[in-house]
Every structure is written in structure tokens, then in C-alpha cells.
């Protein structure tokens, strides 16, 4: 195959996360590894959460997008290790999330795996106030919790730190 790994990464960067369309699957840390040999292009992906229902769509989109770019022999494999973590999100990615209206994870999974949503007042993505409260640890997708801003009186979602 004459195609390079870099080209594949670029193609995959055009695929949005179906549940958080402002981010692509590379920014989300879902694509872990790409390898190419003479006959086949192998992509290793990892689910954010075990039951993430977007996973199948993402796998299908990878195959479809590469096919459109003339790469017809593609294998997508799932790995569980190392387990996905929000630590893989870059600072730029977190800014994009906030601008989209989702409060990004604060801190690292090492120091406050998930406890941050119970102990911290997550910053409101709209008005930046920390006068907020947790409504529910579980939200519209596995990766998000629900909060309410007492300052601008807006409910908002937060990408949980795991």
C-alpha cells in the first residue's frame, strides 16, 4: 500500500464523535494505533465506556471513510487496555468542549477519579461561574453528568473525569 500512516490519521480526524460532534475520534482518544502493511490497514480503537453505543457507528464510519479514500482493505479491532481516560484530552480539545457548551473534565483521573463531580463545583461552560451543583452523576451519554448553574440558571452537561 502506498498510503502513509499520517494520511490515515488525517482521514480519521474528519470523523466526528457521533455523540459529541464538536470533537473528532482522534481528539477523543478513541483511535489508539494505526498500522499498514502491503495488503491491509489495521486500526485499533478503544471504547470510552464499555457500553458506549456509538462504538459500532464509529467502527462503520472508519471503514466507510477509508473506503471513500480508496483504501478498501481495512480491519478495525477493539482494545480495552490501557483503559480510556479523559487525561488523553488535550487542552485545546477541552476548550472546544467548553465552547460547545459541555464543561470539560477538571483535574486528572489519577487524583480525582470521578470524585471531582461530588466534591468540586464544576465550572459552568456558559458564564464560568463555580456556583453550580450536581443534578445527577448520570447523563444523556455514559461519559457525561448533569449539573445546574445557580448563577446563570442554566442546566449543563459535564464530561466526567475518569
Amino acid at each position: 500500500m502506498t498510503i502513509t500512516e499520517e494520511k490515515i490519521w488525517n482521514i480519521l480526524e474528519t470523523i466526528c464523535d457521533p455523540e459529541i460532534p464538536v470533537l473528532n475520534i482522534v481528539e477523543m482518544g478513541i483511535v489508539r494505533k494505526i498500522s499498514i502493511d502491503d495488503t491491509v490497514c489495521r486500526i485499533i480503537v478503544t471504547p470510552t465506556y464499555s457500553g458506549c453505543p456509538a462504538m459500532k457507528t464509529i467502527e462503520d464510519q472508519i471503514i466507510e471513510e477509508l473506503l471513500l479514500n480508496g483504501i478498501d482493505s481495512v480491519e478495525v479491532k477493539k482494545t480495552y487496555s490501557p483503559a480510556w481516560t479523559t487525561d488523553w484530552l488535550s487542552d485545546e480539545t477541552k476548550i472546544k468542549l467548553r465552547e460547545y457548551g459541555i464543561a470539560p473534565p477538571e483535574g486528572t483521573s489519577e487524583e480525582d477519579f470521578f470524585d471531582s463531580i461530588l466534591t468540586k463545583n464544576i465550572t459552568c461552560p456558559y458564564c464560568k461561574s463555580t456556583n453550580t451543583k450536581l443534578t445527577s452523576e448520570f447523563g444523556s451519554t455514559s461519559c457525561k453528568s448533569l449539573h445546574y448553574c445557580e448563577n446563570c440558571l442554566q442546566p449543563f452537561e459535564h464530561l466526567k473525569c475518569i
Binding site: P47, S50, G51, C52, Y80, S81, S136, F138, S142
Partner: protein
């Protein structure tokens, strides 16, 4: 990993047990969809069900791979009969009410926590990887079920009564949680799982501590009637659950939409 026949078949059995636990409990939780007491809880139970079914898929896919007969996780989930399921009887028990669901969930979450910790040290790397992933999710599942148990047990007279009833009814299913058989022994030998002897005591300690805080008691008379789930013996409830879970896949094999 090159495994001899005996180890391979023990590993396949063990992976079915882990996968079936999660598939059956995940299905039970999903029955709450649209019926939970409050909308946040509807979403929470749906999320946890989804995690468990995702975890089941990981374990069953690995089981299918170890078995190397060209099957998939879906084949194992939808085309096995009742006696071929290896889940704990505790997990197939009906939801009854919210208190019953929470007690069952807390019993399982603590059990799962101990087993998953154990598996993260597995010599079989694929299994250790899945365990590491599941453990992350298990930590917030436990937090959810424990907090509810404390609130319901130490809540109103009625919520305490319903929770105590659930503890009384479900306790009898917990004696087999860490029952060890040849499958476990073979895998312990291979360091695929670590020694499990101490886990039942740890489970008792943790669960009794929480029950105490929740103003709930372990039943005085316990009838240890559940045995053999891991060999495929089940209560009457599993068949009904499977009928609902499997009917579509069996009526229209290989259907796609």
C-alpha cells in the same frame, strides 16, 4: 497465548460466567427503562445497564475467541439455552421494586469489585485489560448502589421495611458467590486468576458494614439454597428473562437493520 485443552476449556467456562453475570443483570436493569421512580434514576439505571451489557460483550467476545469455533458474542448471548447460562442466580431474580433492585445491585457490585481487582493481576493479558476497564466503571456503580442503600435503609419506615425485605429475600443467593470449583482451581494454578479463598470474608465484611450503617440486618435464619449457578442450575426466572431477551434474534436469525 498457547493454552492446553484443559486450561482452555476452564478459561472459556470462566469467561462465560463473567459475561453471563453482566448480561443477565444488565437485562434486568434495562427493564427499569421508563419505569424508574424519578427521571435521573431512569437515566442512571439505563447507563449502568449499558455498561454491564458492554462489559458482557467484552467477556463473551473473548470467550468466543478462546473457544475458537467461529462464534461471536451475539451467538453466545442469543443462541444458548437456560442450562448453558452460567450467571449467578442472584442476578436473574426479578426487580420486584426499587429497593430490591438496589440491594441486588449492591451485593453484585461488591462481588464484582473483588473479582475484578483479582483479575487485573491475571497472567492472561486480554483478561487483565478487560478487568481494568470494568473496574473503573464498577467504582461508580458501587457508589451509586451504596448511596441508595444507605438512603433507603436509613430513610423512612417504609423504605427501611422494603429494603429489609429485599435483604431477607436475596441473602440466600449470596452464599455461592465465591464457591470454588475445578474451573477456578485450574485457572488459579495457571495464575489466570489469583487465589479467591479470602474474598468471601472480604465481601461479608464490606456488605455487613454498609448494612449496619443503613440500619439493616443480615437475616437471622439463612437458607443456603442456591448452589450450582455456575454449572447451569437456575431459578424459574431465568427462562422467562431469556425468552424476552432472545426472541427477536431467534425469530429472525442474522437479521440486520
Amino acid at each position: 497465548m498457547n493454552l492446553d485443552k484443559k486450561v482452555k476449556s476452564a478459561l472459556f467456562e470462566f469467561l462465560l460466567r463473567m459475561g453471563d453475570d453482566r448480561l443477565i443483570l444488565g437485562h434486568r436493569l434495562s427493564e427499569w427503562c421508563g419505569h424508574a421512580p424519578i427521571i435521573e434514576e431512569d437515566i442512571a439505571l439505563g447507563n449502568i445497564a449499558l455498561d454491564l451489557i458492554g462489559q458482557a460483550s467484552a467477556f463473551l467476545s473473548l470467550a468466543a475467541e478462546v473457544d475458537s469455533k467461529g462464534k461471536t458474542d451475539d451467538d453466545l448471548a442469543y443462541f444458548r439455552d437456560e442450562t448453558q447460562f452460567k450467571n449467578l442466580q442472584l442476578l436473574e431474580q426479578p426487580n420486584v421494586n426499587f429497593a430490591g433492585t438496589i440491594v441486588r445491585q449492591y451485593f453484585f457490585d461488591v462481588y464484582a469489585n473483588l473479582i475484578l481487582e483479582n483479575l487485573t493481576n491475571s497472567s492472561f493479558k486480554d483478561l487483565a485489560g478487560i478487568a481494568e476497564k470494568c473496574l473503573k466503571e464498577n467504582k461508580y456503580h458501587i457508589r451509586h448502589s451504596k448511596q441508595w442503600l444507605l438512603r433507603l435503609g436509613d430513610g423512612t419506615e417504609l423504605s427501611n421495611e422494603k429494603s429489609q425485605n429485599a435483604v431477607d429475600k436475596l441473602w440466600r443467593f449470596t452464599n455461592e458467590l465465591f464457591e470454588k470449583d475445578d474451573v477456578d482451581k485450574i485457572l488459579i494454578e495457571e495464575k489466570i486468576i489469583q487465589e479467591t479463598d479470602l474474598l468471601k470474608n472480604l465481601w461479608d465484611d464490606r456488605v455487613l458494614l454498609t448494612l449496619g450503617k443503613a440500619q439493616l440486618n443480615k437475616p437471622i435464619e439463612t437458607h443456603d439454597f442456591s448452589h450450582g449457578s455456575r454449572k447451569g442450575f437456575h431459578s424459574e426466572h431465568l427462562g422467562h428473562l431469556l425468552a424476552e431477551m432472545q426472541i427477536l434474534a431467534r425469530s429472525y436469525p442474522n437479521a440486520k437493520w
